[in-house]
């Protein structure tokens, strides 16, 4: 469904991604893990063109999206994204946050958008917060609204950029539970995460990045039990 070939990203003098190739199949859940600064987030941000790769191509449904003349906004309509720091629109209520893009971008009527938003907010367990402003919500609630907001565009694939890293420990579970539910509905997901248990339980495949290089990838079971490379072994030894 989405395929990256030989992605390199250079920021000034720093090469953040080095020749990364990876693909994600329809319905697959891929966890991207690795130490801080390994380029995980940059890789994810390349997938929806928030960062333009310096070299390399990205294909979505066989279409190359890294071409100069690609309509980025059109591509992003089909790719949902959830950020570490939520980035909800603070001046809009929960319901407005979730209805905004369907109305403005997809052209849904207000009633249709509201109906859809209410369904999604029920799915993430926030039916009672429709008219609340984001700053009245806990971190976990904010992130669940952010997930509903991304889903409101009915994307084909969802990208998660460390969705639980900014949360208090007791709120991590509620967000991971929503993500698990989403995975079970067959949503294609790419998740940058430090939650190894989530990667083990939910992911179909794990990609391990270190220093901008895709060092190792494979099924969670074999990756966590028998990592092939020394770097992966080091990393897992430190965190598990």
């Amino acid at each position: 469904m989405i395929k990256a070939t030989n992605i390199t990203k250079v920021f000034g003098e720093n090469t953040v991604l080095k020749n990364i190739s990876a693909s994600v199949k329809q319905g697959e859940v891929v966890a991207v893990i690795g130490p801080s600064g390994s380029g995980k987030s940059t890789f994810l941000r390349c997938l929806n063109l928030l960062e333009q790769p310096t070299t390399g191509e990205i294909f979505m449904n066989e279409q190359e999206i890294t071409k100069e003349k690609t309509n980025k906004l059109e591509v992003r309509k089909h790719i949902g994204m959830v950020f570490q720091h939520f980035h909800l629109f603070p001046h809009m209520t929960v319901l407005e946050n979730v209805t905004y893009a369907p109305i403005k971008v997809k052209g849904l009527s207000k009633e249709e958008a509201k109906k859809l938003a209410k369904q999604l907010l029920a799915k993430v367990g926030l039916t009672d917060k429709l008219d609340a402003y984001p700053n009245r919500l806990s971190g976990g609630q904010k992130q669940r609204v952010a997930i509903a907001r991304a889903l409101s565009m009915e994307p084909e694939i969802m990208l998660f950029d460390e969705p639980t890293s900014a949360l208090d420990p007791e709120m991590v579970k509620e967000v991971l539970d929503v993500m698990k539910d989403l995975a079970h509905t067959g949503m294609t997901m790419v998740v940058v995460t430090h939650e190894m248990n989530f990667a083990k339980e939910v992911a179909d495949r794990v990609l391990f990045l270190d220093d901008g290089v895709l060092v190792e990838g494979g099924e969670p079971e074999s990756f966590f039990n028998q990592p092939q490379t020394e770097r992966a072994q080091d990393f897992l030894a430190k965190i598990l």
Binding site: K72, R76, L88, F89, H91, A101, P134, A150
Partner: protein, 219 residues
């Protein structure tokens, strides 16, 4: 010390008329300054060097020369070039509006840059085009933050509007001078004018507080 307001009494309606005259061009100037200032601010944050350069030059010129000079150019000098007489009213709106736009654009630019970059990314990730993103997401947040600075600019403009008296525009200030010359007493009409300005600014300040409170409802 001999203050005598009784001689001024017949002139009070004449002075009060000045309030409307002043408000008329000040409100128009604020509007021009605000709209043009917003456009200039958007030019300044684009990646297009031409727009950015033009907006910077504009700001530099209008901030770098005295307002009274700009006013006199519009009233006295432009007719000489164009052969078309600019009325005091039009000259005042042009000078104050264009001048204010330079200051407003800097305030708004700072306000936009202060909005978390994540907001832009969140909007982009949802596929929201530039225009609705600016209008619905970035600018409302920017305005909330810069409202005090913006009010300050509007208050300054209201007070500085008194210099239109140099082109003979019959605002509050000019009327005070006329009354002063008529009754051979200057203190009373000037004091009266001062009180009017103070009340206008006071009301403007209250209006600003009201708007600020309404914008804070999401806090």
């Amino acid at each position: 010390m001999n203050l005598d307001f009784s001689q001024m009494v017949p002139y009070i309606p004449f002075m009060l008329e000045g309030i409307w005259v002043t408000l008329k061009f000040v409100s128009m100037s604020i509007l021009v300054g605000f709209i043009l200032g917003t456009i200039l601010a958007l030019c300044k944050i684009t990646k297009l060097p031409i727009l950015k350069g033009l907006a910077d030059i504009y700001t530099s010129i209008f901030r770098g020369t005295p307002l009274i000079l700009q006013l006199m150019i519009f009233y006295f000098a432009v007719p000489q070039l164009s052969g078309y007489d600019t009325s005091p009213f039009l000259s005042a709106i042009l000078a104050f509006g264009l001048n204010s736009a330079a200051y407003v654009s800097e305030i708004i630019r700072a306000g936009i840059l202060a909005v978390d970059k994540g907001q832009t990314e969140a909007a982009e990730a949802l596929g929201v085009p530039y225009k609705p993103m600016m209008i619905n997401i970035i600018l409302p947040q920017a305005f909330k933050n810069i409202l005090p600075a913006l009010m300050n600019e509007f208050i300054t403009l209201t007070k500085e509007s008194a210099i239109v008296s140099v082109i003979g525009y019959l605002d509050i200030m000019r009327r005070a001078q006329i009354v002063g010359a008529d009754i051979y007493r200057n203190f009373e009409p000037l004091l009266f004018a001062g009180v009017i300005y103070w009340i206008m600014v006071y009301l403007l300040t209250q209006l600003g507080k009201l708007v600020e409170r309404r914008l804070r409802h999401s806090d």
